[in-house]
C-alpha cells in the first residue's frame, strides 16, 4: 500500500479511487437482523469531534460524522466528504471538492461546515486538548490561533464556494490528506452547535454527516447509533444498528461475548493461546500501531550511569524480546528493535544491527560494553524501572530486571505508580527508566519518529541531536522519506535513546458471521457502514 497513499503530484485528483461500502461477497447470505454489538471499555468522554480525545470516542465519531478522507479496509486513503482534492504546485494549498451530501437533519454539507469545525478546534474558547493536531497538520496560523495571538478566522482555511474547501499549510506535508481521516478534523453543523450550546451532543440534538445517528446513550451502560437515511451512501450500508456496550471488566466482557451478548470484545491478557485453540474462527491477532519502549532518562534528574550510551546499549541488548512476546504477552506481538511499528504504511524496516544477532551474541556484547563503561562485580550498576500499575507492565518489568540481574549483575528496583503519577513523573523527567507506549495518530512513520526530535513535547529522554532534527525536517518535503526514516531509526539505535521492547497487536474475539472488519488496517479505523452480518 505504499504507492498512491499520499498523492503528492500537483493537481492529481482522486476521482478514480473507489469509495467504501459494505460489499458482501457472492454466495454470502445476509442475516435477517443487521445489528452489530461490541464492547466499549469505558464511558464515552465526549461525542464532540473537536473535544474527543480517545480511541473509543473516535470509533463512534467515524460513524456519526465524516471527514474529508476515509480509510479503506487496508488503511488506504479513499474519498469521504470530499470527492477529490488537488494540491498546488508548491504543495502548500489543498483544495477539496466536496460531494453533495446532507447532514442528518437534511441541511446540505458545505465547505463552511469544515471551516467552522477547523476554526473551532484551535479556538482558545473551545479549549480542545487536540488543538495540537491542527498544529501538527501545519495549517497556516494554527499555532498563533491556539496561543490567542490571532483570531480564529485567520486560520488557513476558507470556503471558496459551498462545495470547495481550501486549506493552506506552512510546510509541505506529503501525508497531509491522510491526516484528515482523524476525528478532530470532522465537520460540525454550526447552526446545531450554536442553537444547543453545550447540549448539542445529546441524542436527539446531535446532527452529523456520517452514516449513523446517535439514538441512545445511557451513561455507563451503552451507546446506540442507527442508520442515517440522509447519508449520501446509505444505499450501500447494511448494518442497521450498532450498539456499544460499556463493560469495564474484560473478563466479564469475554463471558458475555461467549454467552452471545456481543459480536466483538477484547481478549484479556494471557488468554489468547487458549481461546485460539478453542475458538479458532473467533480469535484475531493483527498489527496495531503502538510501540512499547523503556525510556532511559539522560536528563539532569536521571541516573548518571544512563548518560553513557554503552550502558544503555548493554541494558537494551540483554532484554530477551522473545521471552517478553512469546512467554508473557502471548498475543502475537512483534519483537521490537526500532521505534516505528513495522507494519506502518510505506515504512521500510531499517537494518538495525542487534536485531539480527542471536540473544547469546547480544548478551556477550552487552557484558563487554558494561565492563568498558566501568561496571562489574566490584562496581555493580543499580537502576530503577518505573511503570504504571498494570499486570502486564509488572510482568515485563520483573522479567527485564531478571535479565539484567542474571546476565549483567545489575540491581534493579521496581516502582509502580498510578497512571497520572507515572505520566507526570515522566513529563517532569523524574525517573531513571520508565515504561512508555506510543500509538500512532496516522498511518505514516513520522507519527513515531517526529516524537524524538528536540522540539517535540513528547521526547522525555533528555536526548536530542541536531542531525536527527534535520533528518525529520527534510523528510517532510521528500518524495520518498524512507532513507531519512531509516537514518533516524539508525541514530536512535546507535544512541539507544530508549530500549524498544515490542510492537502491538490487537487481539480480539469477533463472531465469524461479522464480515468487513478491517483487521488489515493498522489503525483499526473501522466504520459500521463497512460491516455486515451473514447467516450462521
Amino acid at each position: 500500500m505504499k504507492t498512491n497513499l499520499f498523492i503528492s503530484a500537483a493537481a492529481c485528483a482522486l476521482l478514480a479511487m473507489p469509495t467504501m461500502a459494505a460489499t458482501p461477497m457472492e454466495g454470502e447470505k445476509l442475516a435477517a437482523e443487521q445489528v452489530y454489538t461490541y464492547r466499549l471499555l469505558d464511558d464515552i468522554k465526549s461525542f464532540d469531534p473537536q473535544i474527543n480525545t480517545d480511541v473509543e470516542g473516535s470509533e463512534i465519531m467515524r460513524d456519526l460524522f465524516e471527514g474529508l478522507m476515509n480509510e479503506d479496509a487496508t488503511g488506504g486513503l479513499v474519498p469521504g466528504a470530499a470527492e477529490s482534492y488537488t494540491v498546488s504546485d508548491d504543495k502548500l494549498t489543498y483544495t477539496f471538492n466536496l460531494r453533495d451530501a446532507k447532514w442528518s437533519n437534511g441541511d446540505p454539507v458545505t465547505a463552511n461546515d469544515f471551516v467552522y469545525a477547523w476554526r473551532r478546534l484551535v479556538d482558545p474558547a473551545t479549549a480542545s486538548e487536540y488543538a495540537w493536531y491542527m498544529e501538527l497538520m501545519g495549517v497556516k496560523n494554527a499555532s498563533k490561533v491556539v496561543k490567542g495571538e490571532v483570531a480564529p478566522d485567520q486560520l488557513g482555511v476558507r470556503a471558496v464556494d459551498d462545495k470547495t474547501f481550501e486549506v493552506t499549510i506552512d510546510t509541505a506535508l506529503p501525508y497531509f490528506a491522510a491526516m484528515t481521516v482523524h476525528g478532530s478534523t470532522f465537520p460540525v453543523n454550526q447552526k446545531v452547535v450554536e442553537t444547543h450550546g453545550s447540549e448539542w451532543t445529546k441524542p436527539g440534538n446531535l446532527v452529523g454527516n456520517g452514516a449513523y445517528v446517535l439514538t441512545e446513550y445511557r451513561s455507563g451502560e451503552r451507546v446506540v447509533r442507527e442508520r442515517n437515511p440522509m447519508y449520501w451512501d446509505d444505499a450501500n450500508t447494511i448494518i442497521e444498528k450498532t450498539v456499544g456496550l460499556i463493560v469495564n471488566d474484560e473478563n466479564i466482557a469475554l463471558t458475555r461475548y461467549l454467552a452471545g451478548e456481543m459480536d466483538q470484545t477484547d481478549i484479556p491478557a494471557g488468554q489468547y493461546p487458549r481461546l485460539k485453540a478453542e475458538l479458532p474462527d473467533d480469535t484475531y491477532s493483527y498489527p496495531r500501531s503502538c510501540s512499547y519502549i523503556y525510556w532511559f532518562n539522560q536528563g539532569e534528574k536521571g541516573n548518571p550511569a544512563l548518560k553513557d550510551a554503552r550502558v544503555r546499549k548493554a541494558l537494551s541488548y540483554t532484554i530477551d524480546r522473545e521471552v517478553v512476546v512469546d512467554r508473557i504477552l502471548q498475543g502475537g506481538q512483534y519483537q521490537s528493535y526500532n521505534f516505528t511499528h513495522q507494519k506502518t504504511a510505506g515504512f521500510e524496516l531499517p537494518e538495525i544491527d542487534y536485531a539480527s544477532w542471536t540473544q547469546a551474541e547480544r548478551d556477550a556484547k552487552a557484558k563487554e560494553l558494561l565492563a568498558e563503561a566501568g561496571y562489574g562485580p566490584d562496581n555493580p550498576l543499580s537502576v530503577k524501572i518505573s511503570y504504571n500499575t498494570d499486570e502486564a507492565h509488572k510482568k515485563i518489568a520483573i522479567a527485564v530486571s531478571q535479565f539484567w540481574k542474571q546476565k549483567l549483575g545489575v540491581n534493579t528496583e521496581l516502582a509502580n505508580s498510578e497512571w497520572k503519577v507515572h505520566t507526570t513523573n515522566m513529563q517532569n523527567g523524574d525517573y531513571e527508566i520508565a515504561r512508555y507506549a506510543w500509538c500512532g495518530d496516522y498511518n505514516e512513520a513520522s507519527t513515531y519518529l517526529d516524537l524524538m526530535t528536540s522540539y517535540s513535547g513528547h521526547n522525555v529522554s533528555g536526548w536530542s541531536d541536531p542531525e536527527y532534527d534535520k533528518l525529520m525536517k527534510d523528510s517532510k518535503t521528500m518524495a520518498d522519506p524512507n532513507p531519512n526514516y531509516a537514518a533516524g531509526e539508525q541514530l536512535l539505535a546507535d544512541n539507544m535513546v530508549f530500549a524498544p521492547i515490542y510492537q502491538y497487536t490487537g487481539i480480539i474475539m469477533l463472531k465469524p458471521e461479522v464480515k468487513g472488519f478491517p483487521i488489515d488496517n493498522l489503525m483499526q479505523n473501522w466504520y459500521s457502514r463497512e460491516l455486515y452480518i451473514v447467516e450462521k
Binding site: 468522554k45 479549549a127 486538548e129 455507563g220 451502560e221 469495564n248 497512571w419 505520566t423 507526570t424
Partner: protein
C-alpha cells in the same frame, strides 16, 4: 428531640464545608491533573484548558468559587473528563440507579441477615446455627469482585437465565445479580452481629423473667428480645446503607449498571476534580443524614436513650 435534630443539622453545615476544603486540597495535592495525558498537552493548549476550567486561579479562589457555585446555584460545575456533561447531570443520572440497586440490596441484606442471625441464636449450637454461621462466613470471605464474575459465568453463560449486565431502567432480571453481589457481605455482617447480640439478649434478665412467666417463645422473641437485640445492628446499618446507596465500583464495573460508583473511582484516577468533589459531597451529606437517622431510631428502640 426537635432541638436535637436542629442542632445536629446546624453542626452538619461546617462539617460539610470542612469536608469540601479538605477534599479540594487533597485532590489538588495529588500529582498530575485532569489534563495530564500520555501525549503531553503543549503549554499553550494547557493554558487554554486551565483558563476554561478556572484552574489558572489561585487555589483559595478556586475553593471559594466552587463553594459559592454549590451553595448559591447548586452548580457542581462541568466534568473535566466527560466534557459534554456537568456533575449535576452525572449525579442526577447515576444516583437514582445506585439508589435503586443499593436500597433493594439493603432490604434484602437486612431481611436475610436478621433472619439468619435470629435463627442461629435461637437454635444455638444446632445444625441451623452452624449452617447460618457457615453461610455468613462464606459470604463474608467471598468478596464481591470475585463473586460478580462467578455469578455472570453461572447465570449468563452456563444457565443462560440472566443478562450479563446492563440496567434497562431497573428491570428485575437486570437487578438480580447486582443485588446478590452487593448484599452478600453486608448480609453476612448483619447475620453475625444479630446472632451475637441476640445470644446476649436471650440470656438477659428480662427474658428470663418472661420465660418464668411462661410466655410462649415466639412472643418472647418478637416482643421482648428482637428490639433490644437490634441496637448493634442498627448502628451498623447507618453507614452500611450509605455505602450501599452511594455506589459500589465493583457493581458498576462488572454489571454495567451506570451507577455513580464507577464515576467516583474513575474521577479519582482521572483527576476529574469536579466529579470527585460532587460525589464526595453527596456521600458526606448522606453519611451525616443517616447517622442522624440512626440516632433517632436508637432513641425509639431504647427508652434509656434521650436527647
Amino acid at each position: 428531640m426537635l432541638n436535637y435534630i436542629i442542632k445536629r443539622l446546624a453542626i452538619a453545615v461546617p462539617t460539610i464545608l470542612v469536608l469540601i476544603v479538605f477534599s479540594f486540597l487533597l485532590m489538588h495535592a495529588a500529582p498530575g491533573g485532569p489534563f495530564t495525558s500520555e501525549r503531553a498537552v503543549p503549554p499553550e493548549i494547557l493554558a487554554n484548558l486551565e483558563a476554561k476550567y478556572g484552574l489558572d486561579q489561585p487555589l483559595y479562589m478556586q475553593i471559594w468559587t466552587y463553594i459559592k457555585n454549590v451553595v448559591f446555584h447548586f452548580d457542581f460545575g462541568p466534568s473535566f473528563t466527560y466534557k459534554d456533561r456537568t456533575v449535576n447531570e452525572i449525579i442526577a443520572q447515576g444516583f437514582p440507579i445506585t439508589l435503586t440497586y443499593g436500597s433493594v440490596a439493603f432490604v434484602f441484606a437486612v431481611i436475610v441477615g436478621v433472619s439468619l442471625g435470629v435463627a442461629a441464636a435461637i437454635y444455638h449450637n444446632s445444625w441451623l446455627d452452624y449452617l447460618a454461621v457457615g453461610i455468613s462466613i462464606g459470604a463474608q470471605v467471598l468478596p464481591n469482585f470475585v463473586m460478580a464474575p462467578i455469578l455472570v459465568l453461572i447465570f449468563t453463560l452456563w444457565l443462560g437465565w440472566l443478562p450479563g449486565g446492563g440496567w434497562e431502567n431497573g428491570e428485575v432480571k437486570f437487578l438480580i445479580m447486582p443485588v446478590i453481589a452487593l448484599s452478600t457481605s453486608f448480609m453476612a455482617s448483619i447475620a453475625r452481629i444479630m446472632r451475637s447480640s441476640m445470644l446476649e439478649v436471650m440470656n438477659a434478665n428480662h427474658i428470663r423473667t418472661a420465660r418464668a412467666k411462661g410466655l410462649p417463645t415466639r412472643q418472647i422473641i418478637f416482643r421482648h428480645a428482637l428490639k433490644p437485640a437490634m441496637l448493634p445492628v442498627v448502628s451498623y446499618l447507618g453507614p452500611a446503607f450509605v455505602s450501599m446507596i452511594t455506589g459500589s465500583v465493583v457493581i458498576d464495573m462488572f454489571f454495567s449498571t451506570g451507577g455513580i460508583g464507577l464515576f467516583f473511582v474513575n474521577a479519582a484516577l482521572n483527576r476529574d476534580y469536579s466529579v470527585m468533589m460532587g460525589i464526595t459531597i453527596l456521600i458526606g451529606v448522606l453519611t451525616i443524614l443517616f447517622n442522624l437517622v440512626v440516632d433517632i431510631i436508637y432513641a425509639w428502640i431504647d427508652p434509656k436513650i434521650r436527647y
